[in-house]
């Protein structure tokens, strides 16, 4: 009788201890994970794909350089037409395309913006405003981005598609990578953007 009682008492104590231990371990792990998340840098991942235009470059580079100034870790992946932004000597000659863009400050019907010279005209006007208002230029932002450790990854497949070699792109870039490298980085990102 006494041994049966002892045994069930032992079982009870064992179960209780196990339960308390489990709870304790769980809360410790949770706390540790939370601390780790708080202590690591925030991460921003941007894929620049849709266009290689002046406004695309601005959107990506302003966010990338500002995130770096906020001490975030930043990676920008340039693929398809976005790769155009990284071509050597291209940073000053990116264009804004008025065709199909109803938000241009001087609006014109598509039948007019389709005419030759309209893209050049719109680009010239936008660049004049950029100069006049002392807005950071694309080459300036690119330089700040590289200096502050932003990774500007060229997409290897897009380089092959457009017949570009490493030396066709601006200096200071990391080696061209594939989608897996970007996704591995973006997998731990706090913010992901597609431009």
């Amino acid at each position: 009788m006494a041994t049966t009682l002892d045994k069930s008492l032992n079982d009870l104590i064992e179960a209780k201890v196990k339960e308390l231990l489990d709870q304790r371990v769980e809360s410790l792990v949770e706390e540790k994970l939370k601390k780790e998340k708080e202590s690591r840098k925030k991460r921003l991942a941007i894929a620049v794909v849709s266009k290689g235009t002046i406004e695309t470059a601005y959107a990506a580079l302003i966010l990338a350089t500002t995130a770096a100034a906020l001490e975030m870790e930043v990676g920008v992946y340039f693929s398809f037409f976005g790769l155009n932004i990284l071509k050597k000597g291209n940073q000053d000659s990116l264009k804004v395309v008025p065709l199909g863009n109803p938000a241009m400050p001087v609006s014109m019907p598509n039948i007019v913006s389709v005419l030759p010279g309209m893209t050049a005209l719109a680009t010239m006007m936008m660049k004049r405003e950029i100069r006049k208002k002392k807005i950071a230029t694309v080459p300036e932002l690119m330089e700040i981005a590289i200096e502050s450790g932003v990774k500007l990854w060229p997409c290897q497949m897009a380089m092959d598609m457009f017949n570009l070699k490493k030396e066709d792109l601006i200096d200071g870039l990391p080696d061209a990578v594939g989608a897996a490298t970007f996704l591995e980085f973006a997998g731990d990102a706090d913010i992901t953007l597609f431009i």
């Binding site: 500002t66 100034a69 906020l70 001490e71 002392k134």
Partner: protein
């Protein structure tokens, strides 16, 4: 400036638009020593909110900010 802290360096961001005042501030702070105070002057109204966000994210202390005759002045102490 108000308070007791003295200014160790002044950064002129007058005429610059977003994101340059924030980026120039970060570049200047990086070159300073812990405890030193940076005065940043800008004409960009957006920098009022942006500098608070920058301070919150980086942990560098925004001691004071004020607005006077279209100028925005910020006093930032480097904390680490």
């Amino acid at each position: 400036m108000a308070g007791t802290a003295k200014v160790d360096q002044t950064l002129d961001c007058k005429g610059l638009l977003c994101p340059l005042p924030v980026i120039r501030t970060k570049q200047a702070i990086d070159k300073m020593s812990i405890g030193q105070v940076l005065e940043m002057i800008s004409t960009d109204p957006g920098s009022m909110a942006d500098m608070q966000a920058w301070s919150k994210r980086t942990g560098h202390e925004l001691i004071e900010q004020r607005q006077e005759d279209g100028l925005f002045q910020f006093y930032i102490r480097k904390t680490r």
